[in-house]
């Protein structure tokens, strides 16, 4: 199994995680994905990539470092994103019942192993 697929498998094993993707932040394109049916990986990659790019610009403008982990909480779940090296970002889609703490730990560890 490739390192990318191994990272995705670790994240999707966390209870409540509906899927995960490895994306190229600058391009907003999917590198690898493991998603439940009905989730549009292409749209997720494009919009999550854009969000991270804008957050990076905002924090840089405020004189802060680029965020290493982003948690976007919505009414029906969350989007988690962990930035890695070489412009790669590990994104996870979490339901309301997801174990977010475990997901965060797994994502940070998985994205660190990708470098």
């Amino acid at each position: 199994m490739s390192p990318a697929n191994s990272a995705l498998e670790r994240v999707t094993k966390v209870p409540g995680i509906r899927g995960s993707l490895l994306i190229s932040a600058t391009d907003g394109l999917v590198v690898a994905e493991r998603l439940m049916d009905g989730i549009d990986g292409r749209a997720t990659a494009a919009l999550a990539g854009s969000l991270l790019q804008r957050l990076g610009r905002a924090t840089a403008g405020a004189g802060m470092q680029v965020p290493t982990f982003v948690h976007l909480r919505a009414n029906s779940g969350s989007i988690l994103a962990a930035a890695g090296q070489n412009d790669l970002v590990l994104v996870a889609l979490a339901g309301l019942d997801a174990n977010l703490g475990l997901a965060r730990l797994e994502m940070l560890d998985a994205v660190g192993r990708l470098s």
Binding site: I23, G28, L29, R42, A45, G49
Partner: protein
Amino acid sequence: MRALEPWVVEPLQTFLTESSARLILLMTTSGQVVAQHGFARSFEVMTAAALGSAIVASTEELARLMGAPRFAAVVHGGAELSCLLAAFGTPRGRWIGLVVFGPETSVGLVQLFFDQMVEDLVGAAPREPAAAPMLAENFERELNASLKELFGR
């Protein structure tokens, strides 16, 4: 924005707003301009339309030679500007979109909203038959009329 057909404007405007693209040119596969946004001079539009349609024709021929289906899109990535070129079917025939975008957006976002625009265009297109092929003797007059419509002069 300038468009030869008014029903094109709304999908195009939505695409520009959502994708943050800088320039867009919609044309037929023969290079006839349907709508444009961001180009300042008619010469630039006509050149881009001719080159864009030629690139699409080349890639489609390349796909045919390789025994592959048509390529969905061609993306030229650059440090300052990038360009997406894609052909798509509409009730008015096969059209080409040429989009120029900068680093303030991404190829993923542009592709995502381009596909949405294509769906909107297909949905908005009048179902009446397309105009008859242009006669050679009317070509120059039609071209000048189209340029006047697209540039307001």
